[in-house]
């Protein structure tokens, strides 16, 4: 069964942590640099997130995402290095493209922040099975119906892609050209998207009927086939994160 998710199955301690605790970590890792705007705080958070990625043995899988991010960061370095409003100290380059120390510093700050945010999210995404995350959220009070929607998307999306391929075939069978100049391909958009939307909505309606008669709308308490999992170090993690957050707020107020 084809699905798409960035989750990498591994047997690491980080994989075994409660998904909710990982969300809390992500929030903390993004919040602390917001509370403490010093570059050192950002840098520290980034280092921690990166080393946790290494500890979970998912560094290789995070590279494609970082590669894309670094591509944009390169343009950030150029633009900020050349045009940052606070630029004063020229370093090298030819007018008007002169790199300045302040701009490069700014770009560096942006780079660290972006890397930190992306790493914090990646830690959650790469080490958590989406279904486990959803189940934990529903057990914590997320509406089971929303939980169902989140779960089902991982399978409905590939189904829709299959439908799209069939529709492409059906329209090509009626002589629709889908390759060639830009205009030919733009013209092909409507004959493709309309049936995709239509058949998806018809399927959605049929699925709604089937879900309805299987109690998706039931008001009472639900139960689970899977036994509730126990996750290690939950209390310690939450305590630690709370401490870090409080400490940084205190620091900010006092400093």
């Amino acid at each position: 069964m084809k699905t798409f998710s960035l989750y990498v199955p591994r047997d690491s301690l980080i994989h075994r942590i409660n998904p909710i605790d990982k969300i809390l970590y992500t929030i903390t890792a993004i919040a602390v640099p917001l509370i403490l705007p010093s570059m050192a705080a950002s840098f520290l958070c980034m280092l921690i997130s990166l080393s946790l990625l290494a500890a979970a043995r998912v560094v290789r899988q995070s590279l494609p995402v970082f590669a894309f991010v670094f591509l944009i960061l390169c343009t950030v370095v150029l633009i900020q290095g050349w045009f940052y409003p606070g630029n004063q100290t020229p370093l090298f380059g030819v007018e008007p493209f002169v790199f300045h120390a302040e701009g490069l510093m700014k770009a560096c700050r942006i780079g660290i922040r972006v890397t930190n945010v992306v790493a914090a999210f990646l830690l959650l995404v790469l080490t958590t099975k989406p279904a486990d995350l959803v189940e934990e959220l529903v057990r914590r009070g997320l509406s089971p119906r929303i939980g169902y929607v989140l779960d089902s998307i991982f399978q409905i999306l590939p189904q829709m892609m299959n439908t799209t391929r069939t529709i492409l075939d059906a329209q090509r069978s009626r002589g629709l050209e889908t390759e060639g100049s830009l205009w030919v391909r733009v013209k092909a958009f409507l004959p493709l998207i309309v049936p995709v939307v239509m058949s998806s909505l018809i399927h959605a309606k049929e699925r709604a009927l089937a879900l309805e008669v299987r109690g998706l709308h039931f008001e009472g308490q639900r139960t689970w086939l899977r036994e509730k999992r126990t996750y290690p170090y939950s209390r310690e993690i939450r305590g630690g994160l709370l401490l870090v957050l409080t400490a940084s707020i205190v620091w900010r107020i006092l400093g």
């Binding site: 069939t166 059906a170 069978s173 009626r174 002589g175 629709l176 050209e177 058949s199």
Partner: protein
């Protein structure tokens, strides 16, 4: 004259899993039913004929042209394929426009396309629905709209993928009518079918697919007389054939009329 020539064609979606394993077939204008279990390779086979897939080995010729080198759109004027699920193609806001889409794509002018579309709609009995939104029709009617949308392109070869699914008596009659018209015009009709009764009654040749190979290819009477082979391919004999055999007849009956005639004939000799 050969309309379609298939030479030693193999196909696999993923390497190592061959869906078709060396198919060699030759089609003249005899109407042909393609039967077999789900997953036997029937739909893959017609997609290859239509140029939607390209064989991993072997060659296909449509009316003398090599299908291996032509796109599905380029093949559209010669060979038409009606897909199983009508919701996979309908996108215009009236039935008439939907049916005109194909002819317009293959270079027909609006007037000519309209005329052909109207004729095709008449053939499937949907003339009255021409100005309705196709999405407001019933599934069975939508299927007929799709049949008309291919018929209107006047292809030399027509392939129907499971046309009888979800059809009631009236819908079946419309499909029968289309098949008869194509036969009358000397054009080749092929149908992928799960309904053995319909296959026995309306087609002059039956090809049986099983696990990516052709295990039988003959006129219907011959194919439907081989019960053990059909069983192996996960198929059944037509109800009327079964009734004939159960009455101790040796022959393979394909239509009610044949059996009734035989029963009447014998009844009278008894007297």
């Amino acid at each position: 004259m050969s309309r379609v020539v298939v030479k030693d064609v193999c196909f696999s979606y993923r390497s190592g899993e061959e869906v078709l394993k060396g198919i060699t077939l030759d089609f003249d204008e005899k109407s042909t039913a393609i039967i077999g279990q789900n997953g036997a390779g029937k739909t893959t086979f017609v997609k290859l004929l239509k140029g939607l897939l390209k064989p991993t080995r072997g060659e296909i010729y449509i009316l003398g042209r090599s299908a291996n080198e032509m796109t599905a759109a380029a093949l559209a004027p010669f060979i038409g394929l009606v897909f199983q699920n009508p919701n996979d193609q309908i996108f215009r806001s009236t039935v008439l426009e939907e049916v005109m889409f194909g002819p317009l794509n293959i270079g027909e002018d609006p007037k000519g396309a309209r005329k052909k579309a109207e004729e095709a709609l008449e053939m499937v009995g949907l003339t009255e629905k021409a100005s309705e939104n196709p999405h407001d029709l019933r599934l069975s009617e939508k299927k007929l709209v799709c049949v008309a949308s291919i018929v209107a392109m006047e292809p030399e070869i027509l392939i129907l993928d499971e046309p009888t699914i979800a059809q009631d008596h009236a819908g079946m009659a419309a499909i029968r009518q289309v098949i008869r018209r194509f036969k009358e015009q000397g054009k080749l009709v092929m149908g992928i079918l799960h309904d053995m009764d319909f296959a026995a009654e309306n087609f002059e040749r039956v090809v049986v697919f099983h696990q990516g190979t052709v295990v039988a290819d003959d006129d219907p009477r011959e194919v439907f007389s081989r019960e053990s082979l059909l069983q192996r391919a996960g198929l059944e004999v037509p109800h009327i054939t079964r009734l004939g055999w159960s009455l101790g007849r040796k022959e393979t009956f394909l239509t009610e009329a044949e059996l009734i005639q035989s029963l009447r004939g014998e009844g009278s000799t008894d007297r």
